[in-house]
Symmetry: C2
Subunit: 210 residues, 2 copies
DNA sequence: ATAGAGTTTTATCAAACAGTCAATTTCCGT
DNA sequence: ACGGAAATTGACTGTTTGATAAAACTCTAT
């Protein structure tokens, strides 16, 4: 007996929803929720506004679908921080993966940045539950490494913040980074420079040792 | 002969412009340029919309006045990095002052973050000239310190980025920081924790030394 | 090939928006 | 106290915005 079955999606539905979400990511990541318009998204997706609203009845529905879809991807690098690994390689890997995400998914990074910047009205609960629990758990891991003398002692939560901020900076403040570095260091060279610098910073710091 | 003299401002004019800019800072820092509305700003400033537009004829004029007014304050800490000082105290001071600015002027930080995040359409020129020149100049200073062995060798421009991102994070991502830290570490305790952590990170890094 | 579900468009709406204008009220130096 | 400048307001305009309704069209399983 299949009562109330999951409505299975048609080919057109799948395609159009994907095109809408892609266009919406462009718009929302650049202008935030309020600044982006449905017309804009519809044009980006190559369809009329009423047709777009046939797939997502309200503007907010598109936005929420986007956020839901991106959350797992976004938190995955931290989730895979392995308690049983060596702290230094684990850390190095985490930083590199976050930096790669800034390079490969800058729109996603800006979407979250916009949401937080604007007070996170739509994801406060998530921040206080899922995100907090994940950070609490991984802070314990890091704290354990520190107590065992395998990492310098420092506040693990602020340490996570510093990894987030330094890596996401290259996506969120891309325009500024480009302007300051000038046209010379574009492309992959820039990414490698950033990776090398962050490794030095996080492992060795800036104070010379005798 | 005083031809075309500067129109001197009345008391009311001075007061109202200040109230408008303050309300505008609230609105723009929270919603960005497109997301903020003139009605909203007028209400925040406690006056009618036509009256507000009597002082600033266009929405964009308010925004530009705000940015102009804030730029000097914002760049001052980097500008006062002193070539002839000791690198470590200079660095420590710069980080602390940037962190204090995030604590004392979070709205200003968010305003800039919003502008950059949305592609910096109104300040691209400034980024490519004034900001780039300042960073170039101070990068030379830092580079000199490194060549003299007074700082670890690392890319000075990325070093500046990392100081900006880690300190501004506490203003721009305040909601997230609060959610993750929980209600316990509120107020000044949080600030001191961050200051202590960043000092450890930037000076010593996280890898333990024998 | 065709019926019915699925898709798209035209036309339209009310609310929100930035900005204008003329008329009124308040301020302030004399 | 008064006259002109400065300040304030209500009423309004044209546009953009999110959203709806109904009609027309297209796809697909049988």
């Amino acid at each position: 007996m299949d009562h109330n079955p999951e409505p299975r999606k048609t080919r057109i539905q799948t395609e159009n929803e994907a095109r809408i979400l892609d266009a919406a990511l462009d718009a929302f990541s650049l202008h935030g929720f309020r600044g982006a318009t449905v017309d804009q998204i519809a044009e980006g997706a190559g369809m009329s506004k009423p047709n777009l609203l046939y797939y997502f009845r309200r503007k907010q529905d598109i936005y929420e679908a986007l956020i839901d879809r991106l959350l797992d991807t976004w938190l995955e690098p931290l989730e895979s921080l392995n308690e049983n690994g060596d702290p230094i390689p684990e850390l190095r890997m985490y930083i590199r993966r976050k930096l790669e995400m800034s390079r490969d998914f800058p729109r996603e990074s800006r979407l979250f940045a916009n949401e937080i910047l604007q007070g996170a009205p739509r994801i406060t609960r998530m921040l206080e539950t899922r995100l907090k629990e994940l950070v609490d758990e991984k802070s314990e891991v890091i704290s354990g490494w520190m107590k065992a003398g395998r990492l310098n002692k420092a506040d693990p939560r602020h340490m996570i913040f510093s990894i987030w901020s330094t890596t996401q900076h290259y996506a969120d403040f891309d325009v500024q980074v480009r302007a300051v570095l000038g046209p010379d260091r574009g492309g992959d060279g820039r990414f490698e420079d950033a990776a090398r610098y962050l490794e030095t910073l996080f492992l060795d710091g800036l104070k010379p040792r005798p």
